[in-house]
Symmetry: D2
Subunit: 312 residues, 4 copies
């Protein structure tokens, strides 16, 4: 039984993570830190957990009691401070959901950049620190990794991202044009294709939904549609959560799951890749559990056969 501790337990990401871990057959949650809610029932704060757990938040969890710590603090810098001030016993693994240790380009860093479809080897071979990618970088990478692997990122890349709306302003079209996760994705792609210097042009618009990322990427390429599809099939063949779909993917098909659905087509000179994932799952909590499974040598799907809504 893997004993787990969670910091930032009152964050949304922690709420999703706790729910997954409660139902994971090989995990026992030992403590959940939330200093400002010490003593409060977790299920009273994360109301979706009613009936699932009777644990309460604690102020400070003891790293000696656990095998893995999930850092879910939502402020930038919190994870870095936690690591600086907290003595972590050797062998205790740490999975960080914040941006603090994301360094895809630094192969010497103890923090493995934890995209399982890119870095499964270091994750299963003894890593003790894993940094979960940002959700925008993650979906861009899943859309582009097979092209980078085949050294095909040789033209400007255009990314059209539709993100969740903020609940306060459901109809607002706030356009994102610059984002730190563009650089994160770019550096990760260069690990596969060091020559890749193609700029990424991102436009992001808030869609009218409250969960889910939908992303369309296109670039010019001379390669044929069939060849490209073969590359994607081959690249993702061994990966249990990323699938090619013959029809356009649907947010309803990934909501609540750790899945990413991809669709590839060629139109004129352009290859167009569409991708969908649930930013609070594959983009955050469930990928953290996926990474934990890899770090501890479990089958990667354990505890992650989550509810896709069949028809929503």
């Amino acid at each position: 039984m893997i004993k787990a501790g969670i910091t930032g337990g009152d964050s949304t990401a922690a709420g999703h993570l706790i729910r997954i871990l409660i139902n994971h057959p090989d995990v026992e949650i030992v403590w959940v830190e939330a200093p400002f809610e010490e003593g409060e029932l977790i299920a009273r704060h994360h109301r979706g957990l009613t009936g699932e757990t009777y644990m309460s938040f604690c102020a400070k969890g003891n790293p000696e009691e656990v095998n893995v710590i999930f850092l879910c603090n939502s402020e930038d810098g919190d994870s870095e401070r936690y690591m600086r001030h907290t003595p972590i016993p050797e062998g205790v693994k740490v999975i960080d959901l914040s941006p603090d240790f994301r360094s895809p380009e630094d192969e010497e860093s103890p923090w493995v950049y934890a995209v399982p479809e890119l870095n499964r080897k270091p994750l299963v071979r003894g890593a003790v620190r894993a940094s979960i990618p940002g959700p925008l970088a993650h979906i861009m990478l899943l859309a582009l990794l097979p092209l980078a692997k085949n050294l095909l990122l040789n033209a400007p890349i255009h990314v059209n991202m539709v993100t969740p709306s903020s609940p306060e302003r459901p109809g607002e079209v706030s356009v994102v044009l610059e984002h730190e996760e563009i650089g994160e994705a770019q550096r990760a792609l260069q690990v596969l294709q060091s020559s890749c210097s193609a700029p990424i042009h991102l436009t992001g618009i808030a869609g009218g939904w409250n969960r889910g990322l939908a992303c369309t990427v296109y670039m010019d390429t001379p390669i044929s549609e069939d060849d490209i599809k073969d590359m994607y099939d081959e690249y993702y063949e061994d990966h249990g959560f990323t699938f090619l779909s013959e029809s356009f993917p649907d947010l309803g098909g990934v909501r609540g799951t750790n899945k990413c659905l991809l669709h590839v087509q060629k139109t004129g000179q352009k290859v167009v890749v569409s991708a969908v994932l649930d930013d609070s799952m594959k983009g955050s909590a469930s990928v953290a559990v996926h990474v934990m499974n890899l770090l501890f040598g479990l089958q990667e799907r354990v505890g992650l056969t989550l509810a896709a809504t069949a028809d929503d």
Copy 2:
């Protein structure tokens, strides 16, 4: 391993059911009937199943090959016709999701009225036929069973139901005043309180969401709030999916799960019970799996630790 067959495999209910059964550790799906889609990949029809299954629909499944058959035909009368025309080997269990065999009042019927919170005993003691309740009847029953058990249904009962909208007319306020499931609930309540002749006044309005039932029931009663809460606590103590909540329940807390959340309060002379459940899960597919677990002597929560969205 329980071998399962499914009829009406192209229905929405079947889509949810297949997804749950695929991830159920003790079940193997042997066939899924959908005569008009014979040979079609199930995951192409139920797109949320992409990556979960590579089975195809068949025209006619063989009852000899399975231990349990789920009848998911969506037209009234289909299940009755299926049972009339299909020889079912002795010992093969049948779980019907249609209204065809719902007879809560008939204790001689081979078809157990499959509300686990009401009829768990007959379900676990050798039943081979189970009829899943209608979702409106089901939520009314979960809100009222403890009162019936304590013979307290002695005044008119007012039920205010908010149902999903039809996707075609999201803002329409179609008011329901008469519904066959009122009688269904009434007959089931009389099993516990034979004297119960209180009329049920139902008004139902389509809310602006696409999944979930929210129900508020009230009636006059002289009993105190504390005593009533104790009755609910005691009644649901042994049941793994129905919970009392201290705050008003939230559809987000049950979406995608087999849970029902209840809230009980007294205001003036009235007891007011609020209930929420996901009509496509606890109201349909997941309760069918719950009932299967009981029929086969499994622990009732197996395969049903489904994703509640922690904060949505």
Copy 3:
């Protein structure tokens, strides 16, 4: 030209009101108070007004410059304080959107309880103070006034209200059972039927939409459906914004308008009245303009031929 001033100009109600008044052929807005946003462009705060006005908020408007003041302060007590501290020249009319002066039962109060369908006469005959009803009270009244007028409120009244969700918790089912507007409606009904002592049982649930009230009211009555429909037809014959509908009314049919749609039917002993209105229009800003039209002797529909969305 009627010169208008508005307090609480940064409130949502003021935003709707400004938009209506800008397009009203007989009104000129002279000032809009919003002390904390003094000097800010109104259209920058109320973004729907982009292109409609280039006015800015002021800190304090001068009552001497206007013929009518709309009080849109959103805190209870603000209107009362405004009236206490601000010298209002004789003849300047005041329309209050807050609860501060709602006293439907007090026929001596200078503040007319401004439900046009109930109090049109005092409004057109020289009133200078008008208090806009609460939206829940307003919709209950529109559903019940013809019954009160005919002295038929002689049994308990059950009201099932579906309200907008708060944007922060879209799926939350927060049930309302007690509300000050129940008493407000009750006192207003007693003006028509002094013998009316029937209790009003309200259950309110937040629906999944962000605008609109849907209300179903029922009570026992011996009167026939046809007779009741005749009473409603007669009562609302002269009123330009409240209509009987033969089918169940639809929020889409009133959104953005000053309309209330009613549907009346008898089921068993019960008369069931369904009503829909847009709480930010007929429940607030547009009814204030309707009342202004009456106070100034204009045709009641001027400036209020607002967009119903034909099919949404």
Copy 4:
């Protein structure tokens, strides 16, 4: 008084159009054709019109009785057939909402391509036939016309369009890559900049809302942000429905109106233009009324001071 006839009266576009014309001070609707609903009350079909009109549909309207005919048939080819088979008296104007007569490039065609911001002159100078642009072409044009006017469309143009979902599949991400309205927009732009041969790369994703188009366009350009903003200000200065916004535009700010809001910025070498409009209004019914105002020499805003929702 302009006498108007409408064909295809049971279409959604006709529903919106009727509602606007009913409240237009200079228009009288004489007939509304809907052969399959002959005799049916219009307000029973278009339920948002309850209380607004007591007219019924007719099978065939007489062109001799009207001054203008709006063609709202929703099938391609219907308008062309109507014009071929129906004798239209000289001087009766026809406004077509279908694609049948859209030929922006053909300056000899009797059908003026009716983007008021592009072709106001021919519209006000005696045109008798007007073809309403497609909504996708329309929003692309409003985003690009000032650049074309200044001969600046000299690099590939990338268009990221978020469209309404189909009500049946609210979460579906159906990606559009090729669309006849790309060519329509391209030909219209060449009227201003004949040298414009820049390709338009469109990706369209269905967003989570049921009304509204949000569009982001970008292209490389050496011109500075200030100079570009000046061009937009100058181009739209005389146009009463298209506005530059300093913040990112919001669908809530245009819903139900004839407005288009634009935002312009420069990021790196790229100019990025964001635009929002309501596809059923500025993209269809209200622009048809706008065009009618121009054809008949009315002030362009008459009857179109429609409800923007101030804060939704």
